[in-house]
């Protein structure tokens, strides 16, 4: 059963009615509801299209955080073979909010690293809702450096509300770990591509997404601060998240315009969660294209490409 977002309420009603009719028909064989149900389906499809045609930034945030959206694990399972998770930062712990390891993408060995939010209560808690601690970033650094050593391209999947704001995380150097991870991203002499699959939450996302190429799913977001956080600081009212989401320009479309995202990967009608296999396939195709773009570039060229990309970033603002 689909979980509906608040703005999808009218849609939920129509789809619910269609479902009810069909249930009635199943119970009572004489009833012919096919036409009526089909009409409702058409209406629902139209409504879905209308709703998603022009999502407001805040609604995009909601879609990007949808619990049924495919997560890092789903992509790794579907797009990579021989995935061999590698654990631990060799200092303190293994952070389950970050998963990563060796895998093959179209038979080519790569290093894949990503934030995993979890898919049910148990796994969400285990994954700390995708909020990494310093160990997660240090594990990522270790894996990136290993990939660098063995000449393997790195693919990162970004989906985090942000780095975990906790006592232990601070004591063990959350900020230093993020700074070093960003540094590692810039230093490695292998292709680094990054896909924002859901939420690109602030520094926690930058630590993975300082890449040669950054792709974003159509309804994913990437922001310096959550709209709620921004609203509570600038509007002194967390309920003003709609205005904040608008002002922050955090949608994939805005970020493409600003040069932060290189490509936008289209999502199925109604968002990634409505057709997970299609979404995953589209992400796979994008990774393939981006890896091909960087194929044959040597280490120096890759490092320079990354540097130039970030040094030039923001030299022009939004058009209007």
């Amino acid at each position: 059963m689909t979980q509906y977002l608040d703005f999808e309420k009218p849609l939920a009603e129509i789809e619910g009615k269609a479902e009810e009719l069909r249930a009635l028909a199943r119970a009572n064989e004489e009833m012919d509801v096919a036409d009526e149900a089909a009409a409702l389906d058409t209406k629902a499809a139209q409504l879905l299209e209308d709703l998603y045609k022009d999502l407001t930034p805040w609604r995009k945030c909601q879609v990007a955080r949808h619990p049924e959206r495919p997560h890092c694990r789903d992509y790794i399972d579907a797009l990579f073979t021989e995935y061999t998770p590698l654990a631990g930062d060799r200092n303190f712990a293994d952070d389950h909010a970050v998963m990563g390891g060796l895998a093959r993408f179209n038979d080519q060995p790569v290093m894949v690293i990503g934030h995993e939010k979890g898919s049910d209560t148990k796994s969400r808690i285990e994954r700390n809702f995708g909020m990494a601690r310093p160990e997660g970033y240090r594990k990522a650094i270790r894996l990136m450096q290993m990939a660098d050593k063995f000449g393997l391209p790195v693919v990162t999947l970004v989906d985090t509300p942000g780095a975990y704001p906790g006592k232990g995380a601070e004591e063990r150097g959350q900020s230093e770990a993020i700074a070093r991870a960003t540094e590692a991203c810039l230093q490695i002499r292998v292709p680094l591509i990054s896909v924002v699959i859901g939420e690109g939450g602030s520094g926690g996302a930058v630590a993975f997404a300082t890449a040669n190429r950054v792709a974003m799913l159509e309804h994913s977001i990437y922001s310096v601060i959550s709209p709620e956080g921004c609203a509570s600081i600038l509007w002194k009212d967390a309920e003003k998240m709609r205005e904040a989401a608008e002002a922050l320009r955090l949608t994939a479309q805005n970020l493409k315009e600003l040069g932060v995202a290189d490509t936008i990967i289209p999502e199925p009608k109604g968002g990634a969660h409505r057709d997970r296999p299609e979404t995953i396939a589209a992400v796979g195709a994008a990774i393939e294209t981006l890896l091909k773009e960087l194929d044959g570039k040597d280490g120096d060229a890759l490092v320079q490409d990354r540097r130039k990309k970030f040094l030039d970033m923001g030299s022009k603002g939004l058009a209007a």
Binding site: A163, P165, G166, K167, A169, E170, E171, R172, G173, Q174, S175, E176, I178, A179, R180, T182, E183, C185, L186, Q187, S202, G203, V206, A207, T210, Y222, S223, V224, I225, C230, I233, L234, W235, E243, A244, A247, L248, R249, L250, N254, L255, L258, V260, R307, F310, L311, M313, G314, S315, K316, G317, L318, A320
Partner: protein, 319 residues
């Protein structure tokens, strides 16, 4: 009653308030409450002479105390696009900028300069917490890149004084992108084998800590400075427990292995001289007060020409 409250009381109040000292002559210490005479306070680099509490200091005042004879040359910072996102919250971003510029008399939240400390040529950058919380936007990013480029060009160490609430929200994702941008700048220094020393001052938080402020060869902090990624309030709301005394303060970080040193501001200059000279393989600095270098002497013997002083500031110029 009205006559009394509306006329007499204001009159009486005005007589008393007139007797108060002009607020710029005396400043109350936030730490111990002692009234400190402004000249004494600024001579002591805004450190309370009574309890040692470190108050905020502007980059200009800091540089005046840091560089030999208070002489430094400002490094020009490339201007970024203004208001790239056309950001509007309750106030428009350009309006917030204007009021910050008016209240601080500065263009932006970071000042970059070249000069000498104990006759050691350096490049220094200082963040201005009084300018929109020192927040890191495109300009601050450009300033750090300019500072690193200058240091590489002149073959000098970079000393950076950080002070910021974090990234500048009004520049949205572009402020976040200053994390990788400034990291590139620090890498330029590292590749040139030049020392990069960070002095973390109160407060240094958020995206600033998670990028250039934590990547120094040597990490020094001023006493009791708040240094963190997530602020204490955010953490308390998340974990719903009281945080220990002194949590995320400089001394706490030193204990947890996140810093090399905690050094009072009044001793910072000497310490920076000692450290940079050793890292550069120079002889020990001459102790005691040196005469102020002449304007044309600010160039290191073995470095490129640095006399195109567009903006040489002397003590007299600086208020």
């Amino acid at each position: 009653m009205n006559w009394i409250t509306n006329y007499v009381r204001p009159r009486i109040n005005s007589i008393f308030s007139r007797r108060e000292v002009p607020e710029n002559l005396w400043q109350k210490c936030d730490g111990c409450g002692t009234m400190l005479f402004h000249r004494e306070l600024s001579d002591n680099l805004k450190v309370c002479t009574s309890c040692g509490h470190h108050m905020g200091i502007t980059p200009r005042d800091r540089f005046k105390g840091l560089f030999d004879g208070g002489i430094f040359t400002e490094v020009e910072v490339p201007e970024p696009v203004t208001d790239p996102l056309k950001f509007k919250d309750q106030k428009k971003y350009p309006d917030r900028m204007k009021s910050a510029q008016k209240s601080t008399g500065e263009k932006e939240a970071m000042l970059v300069a070249t000069g000498e400390i104990g006759r050691t040529p350096i490049v220094a950058a200082a963040q201005d917490f009084s300018f929109m919380g020192g927040s890191m936007g495109m300009y601050v990013g450009n300033a750090i890149i300019a500072a690193a480029e200058k240091a590489v060009e002149l073959g000098r160490p970079l000393v950076l004084f950080s002070a910021a609430g974090g990234a500048r929200m009004q520049e949205g994702i572009l402020s976040l992108m200053q994390m990788p941008r400034t990291t590139v700048a620090i890498q330029m220094l590292k590749e040139a084998d030049l020392p990069y020393i960070v002095v973390l001052t109160h407060p240094t938080t958020g995206g600033v800590t998670a990028s250039y402020a934590m990547l120094g060869d040597v990490q020094i902090a001023e006493p009791n400075a708040l240094i963190c990624f997530a602020g204490p309030r955010v953490i308390e709301q998340t974990i719903r427990e009281k945080l220990p005394e002194g949590f995320q303060r400089a001394e706490y970080l030193l204990d947890h292995g996140m810093l090399d040193r905690v050094t009072p501001r009044t001793e910072m200059r000497d310490e920076l001289i000692t450290i940079t000279r050793m890292l550069l393989g120079l002889s020990p600095a001459i102790q005691g007060d040196l005469p102020a270098p002449d304007a044309d002497e600010t160039t290191a013997p073995d470095t490129a020409e640095d006399q195109t002083a567009e903006n040489t500031e002397t003590e007299a110029d600086v208020k």
